[in-house]
């Protein structure tokens, strides 16, 4: 822990390993995909008991580095060493897991199996010994006992027999961490671990990480949330365009330093985003209510609604926030027509929108940026242009519904250009794009049909800082210049900077409303927990 934990490879690619006792050591790693150089000579080391934050924009090479560190792909050149010895062969996952285990962003849990089976997935304890049972016979008793031991040792509290489908997202993550520890991994890689967690759960995760590092486990913490990296990481490494451009103890850095390192000194989008709400304020006085929602109730699994009413005027950006279970996503989905409510109604420009019919809602003029882009945002193997124009094929097609691929490309171009979408061309399958660019496709698809109301649910989840600000400012500018209302449903408070008003939901009801930007972050957090302005009188006024 005394030695400098991270060796920067950017300035001096030939420097040897700086810490001889590193638990995980990556030297000169290069990886190409076709013409793209995903990693260009990355040097990185992690010591026992260290928590190293790894940040970088989408497409910077984080995922590639994760897959190399996880033993899933092999670097073109360079080496990976564990405890000073060469890493096992790529593909020898069993031996690899004895050193390093990854908790991926997307759950690797088999939902129908029990907690114990998931913890020991692929290495179920067998019955060996004098009883004579064969080596391939699963010992359920040993499996449950050892799961209980691991859970107990690390203060994780989940019964081994529970089927994983009954667990919350947080508990599933705990199971994945337990799986890593069960193989005796000395290094745990956490890839965007807080993406789907509530604030309290994030606290608990941090406590667990601290407990792990205190016990000598190394943690590589990958996140888009810089404040998390500052809180939990002793050191931070920044990847940009496949190079490690910065590596230093977090204590010596500011958030601005990190952002500058990530975007390479060009921080223009930040200014853009700040300018956007100002532009909205200068726009002509907001007109009639575009959207009128009255008394929505729902029993949705994503969070119930207990009678929510709200208004969005033309040119206005209204935020809805709250804890994950508060119904934030549900209200967005109901208004967009993806889910039918149990009661209440949605009116757009005075006309009732039929409930639960996405196509009808879209025809009425409601755009929808879904929460989970992989699930609803695009068709992965179709091209960028085809996905972007998916909602406007009717306008683009000529007589008898004939739709020329060229017209799609032409129609998509202004939207993809406006969002600075990086692709090799209109025909490139969206599956090949980075997460941030995939999200841009999803947003472009919505902008393309020129909605009079955009419902955006957590539009910046899993998107890097620069893309995030670009996406938010583009939404704000649609409202300001295009006269569309925007309803931004998000549990990420940083999304709310573009809002003119913010409603806070608590357990499916509007708890309070903030209407004077900029919003006080602490007051917002308190409000989502159901506490009105004990500390800030202004909050109570807003609540009236």
């Amino acid at each position: 822990m005394t030695s400098s934990a991270v060796s920067s490879g950017a300035g001096s690619p030939n420097t040897g390993p700086s810490s001889a006792g590193a638990l995980v050591e990556v030297t000169g790693v290069e990886k190409r995909f076709g013409t793209t150089r995903a990693l260009r000579g990355v040097d990185l080391s992690i010591d026992a008991g260290q928590c190293l934050g790894l940040v970088g924009r989408n497409g910077a090479g984080k995922s590639t580095l994760v897959s190399i560190l996880s033993g899933l792909s092999e670097p073109d050149t360079g080496t990976v060493r564990f405890g000073g010895a060469p890493a096992p062969r790529v593909g020898d996952i069993g031996r690899w897991r004895e050193w390093i285990a990854t908790v991926f962003q997307h759950s690797m849990i088999v939902p129908h199996l029990s907690v114990a089976e998931n913890v020991f997935l692929g290495a179920l304890p067998s019955m060996l010994g004098p009883s004579g049972a064969g080596p391939s016979v699963v010992s359920w008793r040993a499996m449950r006992r050892r799961t209980r031991d691991i859970m107990g040792e690390w203060g994780l509290d989940i019964a081994p027999e529970t089927p994983c489908r009954e667990l919350s997202v947080e508990q599933l993550q705990v199971v994945e961490i337990a799986r890593a520890l069960a193989r005796g991994a000395r290094c745990v890689l956490l890839d965007e671990p807080t993406a789907a967690l509530e604030r309290q759960a994030i606290r608990r995760l941090f406590d667990r990480v601290r407990q792990l590092t205190a016990a000598g486990v190394a943690v590589l913490y990958i996140s888009h949330h810089l404040e998390e990296v500052f809180e939990i990481g002793q050191d931070v490494a920044v990847l940009r365009d496949g190079e490690l451009v910065l590596a230093a103890p977090t204590a010596r850095l500011s958030k601005d330093d990190l952002v500058a390192a990530m975007v390479g000194g060009i921080a223009a989008p930040a200014a853009e985003a700040r300018a956007a709400p100002a532009a909205a304020a200068n726009a002509p006085a907001p007109g009639e209510a575009v959207l009128a929602v009255d008394g929505l109730t729902s029993d949705s699994a994503r969070g119930r609604l207990a009678g929510v009413s709200l208004r969005v005027r033309a040119g206005e950006v209204v935020g809805v926030t709250g804890l994950l279970s508060a119904g934030v996503a549900t209200i967005g989905r109901v208004i967009a027509g993806v889910e039918a409510p149990d009661g209440g109604e949605v009116r757009l420009r005075g006309r009732r929108v039929p409930p639960g019919q996405r196509a009808a809602a879209q025809r009425a003029g409601i755009g929808y940026i879904p929460e989970d882009r992989r699930a609803e945002g695009f068709v992965a193997h179709l091209g960028v242009a085809e996905n972007t124009t998916m909602a406007i094929t009717r306008e683009l097609s000529g007589r008898f519904g004939v739709l020329a691929p060229r017209r799609r490309a032409v129609a998509a171009a202004p939207f993809t250009a406006r969002l600075s979408l990086v692709s090799s061309g209109p025909g490139q399958p969206v599956a090949e794009l980075s997460g941030g660019n995939q999200q841009k496709v999803t947003v472009a698809r919505t902008l393309a049909h020129r909605p009079s109301l955009i419902v955006a649910i957590t539009p910046t989840r899993g998107v890097d800082v620069a893309s995030k600000e670009l996406l938010l400012s583009s939404l704000a500018s649609v409202a300001a210049a295009g006269g569309a209302g925007v309803l931004l449903c998000s549990d990420e408070l940083s999304d709310l900077v573009i809002c003119d008003r913010v409603l806070v939901l608590v357990r499916g009801e509007v708890f309070t409303e903030f209407s004077n930007p900029p919003f006080d972050r602490d007051a917002l957090i308190l409000a989502t927990e159901g506490i009105t302005g004990m500390t800030d009188e202004a909050v109570r006024e807003e609540g009236e």
């Binding site: 013409t35 793209t36 150089r37 924009r57 497409g59 365009d241 496949g242 975007v263 390479g264 060009i266 967009a336 993806v338 996405r358 196509a359 879209q362 025809r363 929808y368 879904p370 699930a375 609803e376 945002g377 695009f378 068709v379 992965a380 193997h381 179709l382 091209g383 085809e386 996905n387 998916m390 909602a391 094929t393 009717r394 683009l396 097609s397 008898f400 519904g401 004939v402 739709l403 020329a404 691929p405 171009a413 993809t416 250009a417 406006r418 600075s420 979408l421 990086v422 692709s423 090799s424 061309g425 209109p426 025909g427 490139q428 698809r445 049909h449 620069a466």
Partner: protein, 359 residues
């Protein structure tokens, strides 16, 4: 001086912090070419196999490489081909329909039963043959509609629904004529399957037209593109305002109507409707084999008509060669099946990663 400039004024937008990656304007032509090469390669993946089979066929028998033999292959394959178009459409939306083989038998049976006299086991209504063809199409549409409603609206498993439907329809096919075969079909009814223009069988012409129209529809029609979106990711298609359920039900209907048309061709070709037609012959295996060999994914959203057509042609040539080689009837099925497995493997090798099943 301007020659080195990026082709579009938007170039500055591309030179963003993301850097390093090809700018949207400049890379597009290359990418399009690359994309095209890949898809063309996939579409002609079976070409080497077809060429090889033609060489083998020529060696096996002097009668193989003749116009009349190819016309024969065309006539024999066209009924199957039309059903393959229907099944491919259903596979593209991420569905599957086993009952097409029974529709292939039942639709012409119902129509023929209404056409022929009581003495020939008909119903005695002596329907006009043109009306008979309408009845045939209607039977297909109704079966497809029932399947579509049960699967899409009733949210039942498509495999089991259409398996059950297969058996029900095959039972009806035998039940209405008490397991008799109907001969002496009116010539207008048999025209599609039996007639030729010169050496060219009418059924082949019609099948080729159906393949081409469907291929163009899938590529250049709004609804055709919707079919790919629905099969590729139904939730995303729905979020983009596509009426997913309507597209799916529509495709089930069209698929069954195509199966009925295939049945009409078959009835004309053999000048009869037998109780065996369709389900009894087990044609659904050939239907799936042709589609999958041709690169239509069983998981939905991938595949095209060029591939499906080459799958049909491949099966047609194989069975023709086995005939000409006078392979004993006892062995013909084993060899037929082995060739299909081999063709599948070859299509997988040539077609690359996109034809691979997930590990």
């Amino acid at each position: 001086m301007i020659s080195n400039q990026a082709p579009q004024g938007q170039a500055p937008a591309a030179v963003r912090p993301d850097g390093g990656v090809a700018p949207p304007g400049g890379g597009s032509i290359g990418a399009r070419l690359r994309g095209m090469n890949v898809s063309v390669l996939r579409e002609v993946a079976l070409l080497p196999v077809l060429v090889l089979l033609i060489v083998v066929g020529t060696l096996v028998s002097p009668a193989f490489f003749t116009v009349s033999n190819f016309a024969g292959i065309g006539q024999q394959s066209s009924a199957l081909g039309v059903v393959v178009v229907g099944e491919s459409l259903i596979l593209l939306i991420g569905g599957m329909d086993l009952s097409l083989e029974s529709t292939f038998g039942l639709a012409p049976m119902v129509a023929a039963w209404l056409l022929v006299p009581v003495a020939a086991y008909g119903s005695g209504t002596n329907l006009n043959p043109y009306l008979g063809i309408l009845v045939l199409l209607a039977v297909g549409a109704v079966v497809g509609l029932i399947n579509g409603l049960l699967i899409v609206k009733g949210r039942l498993n498509g495999f089991i629904v259409t398996l059950g439907m297969t058996i029900v329809l095959a039972g009806l096919q035998n039940g209405i004529v008490k397991a008799q075969s109907l001969f002496n079909l009116p010539s207008a009814f048999g025209y599609l399957g039996a007639a030729s223009i010169g050496e060219l069988p009418v059924s082949l012409i019609v099948a080729v037209v159906i393949f081409i129209l469907t291929g163009l529809f899938l590529r250049y029609h709004r609804v055709g593109r919707d079919i790919y979106a629905v099969g590729g990711n139904p939730a995303a298609a729905r979020a983009a305002g596509i009426k997913v359920e309507r597209v799916k039900i529509g495709v089930y209907v069209v698929g069954s109507v195509l199966a009925a048309i295939g049945g009409l061709m078959e009835a004309g070709r053999v000048s009869a409707v037998t109780g065996q037609q369709g389900y009894g012959e087990g044609i659904i295996f050939s239907v799936f084999a042709a589609a999958v060999i041709g690169g239509v994914s069983l998981k939905g959203g991938r595949g095209n008509m060029v591939g499906a057509a080459s799958g049909v042609i491949l099966l047609g040539i194989v069975s023709d060669i086995l005939d000409l080689a006078q392979v004993s009837n006892y062995w013909i099925e084993a060899i037929d099946g082995a060739v299909i497995l081999f063709a599948l493997f070859l299509a997988r090798v040539v077609g690359g990663e996109s034809t691979a099943e997930e590990r």
